[in-house]
Amino acid sequence: MEITVNINGTDHSADVEPRKLLVDHIRTGAGLTGTHIGCDTTSCGVCTVLVDGKPVKSCTMLAVQADGRRVTTVEGLKTADGLHPIQQAFSDEHGLQCGFCTPAMMLVGAALIEENPDPSDDEVRWAISGNLCRCTGYMNIVKSIRAAAAAAGNGSSGADD
């Protein structure tokens, strides 16, 4: 099927098999390998991207379902002005170790801050509860997301209370 997906601001047209998963289309079709695959069952969340601004696990969406929609991947976070605050915060607060879950965590965090400019510790934990991390124990991820909210001029605190 012919589809056109806007990925990170650029329209990508392609002829894809109807069964092709969005995550595979992003990784091998668009060549954006920052979106990862970790479990095959929609459990781990490392494939999370934003579809029209909302977090979606791209292993559970077909590429054809994204036709005409706007997809943001980790490669789309940075702008001409530099790193997205969430990227800076993850580095500053040691919110990543192996980096495999990180793109998804940052996208979920960025979407949360759009919706809730000053999330509490619990609100962040709930928001990322569909995303597993094996390295960090989540504390510094929570800290990073709250720090990003604070840096965006919205949040009250990046502290892990």
């Binding site: 920052g34 993850f90 192996c98 995303n131 124990g137």
Partner: protein
């Protein structure tokens, strides 16, 4: 926090929380993981796995799969056998099937592989491979396996007439028996440390690129030990070692899972060799959970002989280990049960005797050191659970019981009854500090009051001692390869440097911390040092990263090579300052003549001179390599205190507080150390509360995906309060001990002790891990009181 810095922040030596060098690419989605690699002409491989746990293979029909458009080859055990590759050695001296030819011995075992132009086609065609299985009874516990008359799982193994994989014992049996005979009290505990799986979020994979013309084999692999893997590939496949290049790129977590060589790697390499095109194989999550290296699965009975006042006299342990179908523990070859004999823990007593039997079962092989230094997690868990049991049995406060038995600071170096020589420690200070931070006395008072009201709260303590950093060549090898490690340092004319190391990061931050070690020793800013790892053509030899050995061994090699460079730079500085080398001193970043700091030569000046203006007779360049053979292991330790509230009606328990004091010696990068502890505590919490792999009676793996194998999310994971003491290792060049695994080793006992403590007054002495609510509820319901 203890300040151990000697350099200014702009140098970023030891003790600075330098931001990580590796983050820049990872936060922009520019990491390079195995599945991100795409080579021209690359094919894709899918494995056909056994759906049953135990069966004879009558036939394999590949015709339908081969006929699928896009399928290039279907590989079976028969084809592998024709090349002498149907079986391969394990890291514990056993053999393991690469592709099954005679029988399948566990669910998920590799039976065939399909290579196709597209991963979807490969997966489709794999479904079409027809295997005719003749079912055999599955043996799913080591108890069944070792019972008289049990069917022999390893019937292909010459001389194997039962299902015993190994026996092992250590310690002084007679002296231990005598101590038990004379003891006032004997306390015992029988528990199962359940099978668990490291399950890094990136599964295992390979892109094998074997050039049929040149014979060059470039293998991009998820490998925690690329150099050892290169040598093993050479030995097993008969490929000349100079033509094998293993590249372990960014690794999405390892935790021991990526130490062994798995059948998928071997088959993909063979397929690339036979077809003449690159072949990619990336495991599915189910494949990862049901076939690759698990951890633990030890049935343990431990006993302590004590005096009435709680002084330990001796320890006795009898264990049964479920090895799965092949004995494939990744561990030093001398020790069949890893370093379990560190089980005497932090306590001063004279005698111990430990024995273990390993049994084959119809389960996946493994026994990897899942975020631990070879069975130390099981050992630490047993002694710390026994201490809780002893405290409850003798009516002595568990903190007080530990304080009465601790090895004292002045006793170091301390030789344990099983032969370890602990390097350094101050256990009483650590425990007291953790108790104080937790408010221990107040918590006990609160607990007493809560019990009056029928409420259940528990306070769990664990004080662990690890033995990491294997290890000294006289004792430690894996598959015959001595467990040394290495570092090569090149300083370029402009004073920028490249450090090449034999160890391999999987998220621990080597690119940052190893640069900090060089910065400390040479004065070159950490940001000016590029750290290269994981590519065997571009790094010196080493045994890899697991068992917390990177800092103790690779970090020591790095410090030593940096000292060689600094010494040469000092001689060059002497030449430039027209002084004798012995008169030259160095501060953080420059050399000067003693007493005249005004005239100085920077390390950068010395580097430039190394290529332009040398003293007579000195060789050009500023580079060197060091192979480090550690004189001893290192022994990190910690005191953990957990507070839980237990719902008496449901058995659900919640962590109210988790106070973790770690002493890992000198901390190179405190930020990274704390991150390692957070992660380790979470895995300890996972094992104690939810994470285990089980099987039904037919050997079907329950826990074959992340819907059944539970990993804690941010929602369940407790918050942690971290503390530290710093007791340097006296034999390590920079006094560091290693930290990657301490928290996983130490914390499970603290969590379990807390829950048991909450119900101990009811007579409960043990609840096996994972401490699921129904188990707690049942313990309460069936308690003696």
């Amino acid at each position: 926090m203890t300040d151990t810095t000697t350099t200014p922040p702009e140098i970023g030596g030891i003790g600075h929380s330098v931001k990580r060098a590796e983050d820049a690419r990872l936060i922009e989605g520019q990491g390079n993981f195995v599945d991100d690699i795409a080579l021209p002409g690359m094919l894709h491989m899918a494995l056909v796995r056994s759906p049953v746990a135990h069966a004879r293979i009558n036939s394999i029909d590949t015709e339908a799969a081969s006929a699928v458009d896009g399928v290039v080859a279907v590989v079976t055990g028969e084809l592998m056998d024709a090349h002498g590759l149907a079986w391969m050695p394990t890291l514990s001296g056993d053999t393991q099937a690469v592709l099954a030819t005679d029988k399948v011995r566990y669910q998920g075992q590799e039976v065939a592989a399909v290579v196709a132009t597209d991963p979807y086609i490969a997966a489709d065609a794999a479904e079409l491979v027809e295997v005719d299985y003749e079912m055999l009874d599955a043996i799913t516990t080591p108890q069944q396996s070792l019972a008289d008359g049990a069917e022999v799982i390893r019937d292909e193994k010459e001389g194997q007439t039962d299902n015993l994989a190994y026996t092992w014992e250590t310690g002084d049996a007679a002296a231990t028996e005598a101590a038990f005979a004379n003891a006032d009290r004997v306390v015992s505990l029988t528990t199962h440390y359940p099978r668990s799986h490291p399950s890094p979020l990136e599964t295992c994979g390979i892109v094998a690129d074997v050039n049929s013309v040149t014979g060059q084999a470039t293998l991009y692999m998820t490998s925690q030990a690329p150099h050892a893997h290169r040598t093993l590939f050479a030995l097993v496949a008969g490929l000349p070692e100079q033509n094998i290049r293993i590249v372990s790129p960014d690794i999405g977590g390892g935790f021991g899972n990526k130490v062994p060589i798995y059948p998928g790697y071997v088959v993909a390499t063979a397929a690339s060799l036979l077809i003449g095109q690159p072949v990619k194989w990336v495991e599915t999550r189910t494949g990862n959970l049901i076939s690759t290296g698990f951890g633990r699965d030890y049935y343990m009975t431990g006993e302590l002989a004590l005096s009435d006042d709680g002084r330990i006299q001796a320890m006795r342990v009898d264990m049964l280990s479920d090895q799965g179908a092949f004995y494939a523990d990744a561990q030093p070859s001398r020790y069949k049960a890893g370093l379990f004999h560190v089980c005497t823990g932090s306590y001063d007593f004279g005698n111990a005797h430990i024995k273990c039997r390993g049994a084959f079962t119809n389960k996946a092989p493994g026994g990897v050191a899942y975020r631990c230094s070879f069975r130390i997690t099981e050992a630490s868990f047993l002694i710390e659970r026994l201490m809780q049991t002893a405290a409850d049995e003798l009516g002595i406060d568990p903190a007080e019981l530990r304080l009465r038995n601790f090895i004292q600071p002045e006793q170091f170096p301390y030789e344990t009854p099983t032969g370890f020589v602990y390097d350094s420690g101050d256990y009483p200070t650590a425990l007291r500090k953790a108790l104080e931070a937790a408010g221990y006395d107040e918590l006990r008072a609160e607990q007493a009051a809560a019990r009056e009201q029928g409420k259940l709260m528990g306070i769990g303590i664990a004080h662990f001692t690890e033995a990491v950093g294997a290890g000294p060549a006289h004792t430690y090898d894996i598959a015959g390869l001595k467990m040394i490690d290495s570092a090569e340092l090149r300083v370029h004319p402009t004073g920028k440097a490249v450090l090449k190391i034999g160890v391999k990061t999987q998220g621990q931050g080597h690119e940052t911390t190893f640069a900090q070690i060089v910065a400390e020793e040479t004065g070159i800013p950490a940001g000016d040092i590029k750290v290269i790892h994981g590519d065997t053509d571009d790094t010196p030899y080493g045994l890899g990263t697991y068992a917390s050995r990177s800092t103790p061994v690779g970090g020591a090699a790095t410090a030593m090579v940096a000292r060689k460079i600094a010494d040469k730079a000092r001689h060059i500085a002497a030449h430039l300052l027209e002084a004798a080398p012995e008169d030259i001193e160095r501060d953080a970043d420059k050399f000067f003549v003693a007493g005249s700091p005004d005239q100085s030569v920077s390390i950068q000046d010395a580097a430039f001179a190394a290529y332009t203006n040398l003293p007579e007779g000195m060789e050009y360049g500023l580079e060197d390599v060091t192979y480090y053979n550690p004189p001893n292991l290192t022994f990190p330790y910690g005191s953990y205190v957990v507070v839980v509230d237990v719902d008496p009606d449901t058995g659900v328990w919640k962590v109210r507080r988790m106070v973790a004091l770690d002493d890992c010696g000198v901390r190179i990068n405190p930020m990274i150390v704390e991150g390692q502890i957070h992660g380790g505590l979470t895995e300890g919490f996972a094992m104690s509360s939810m994470q285990w792999i089980t099987f039904d009676d037919d050997g079907n793996c329950i826990g074959s995906n992340f819907m059944d194998y539970l990993i804690p999310t941010a929602w369940e994971t407790p918050r942690f309060e971290l503390l530290e003491t710093v007791t340097p290792s006296p034999h390590h060049p920079i006094g560091a001990k290693g930290i990657g695994e301490s928290a996983t080793v130490g914390s499970p006992a603290a969590f379990v002790n807390a829950v048991v403590d909450a119900v101990a007054h009811l007579g409960v002495r043990n609840i096996d891990m994972p401490v699921l609510p129904d188990r707690v509820w049942e313990a309460i319901e069936t308690a003696d009181t």
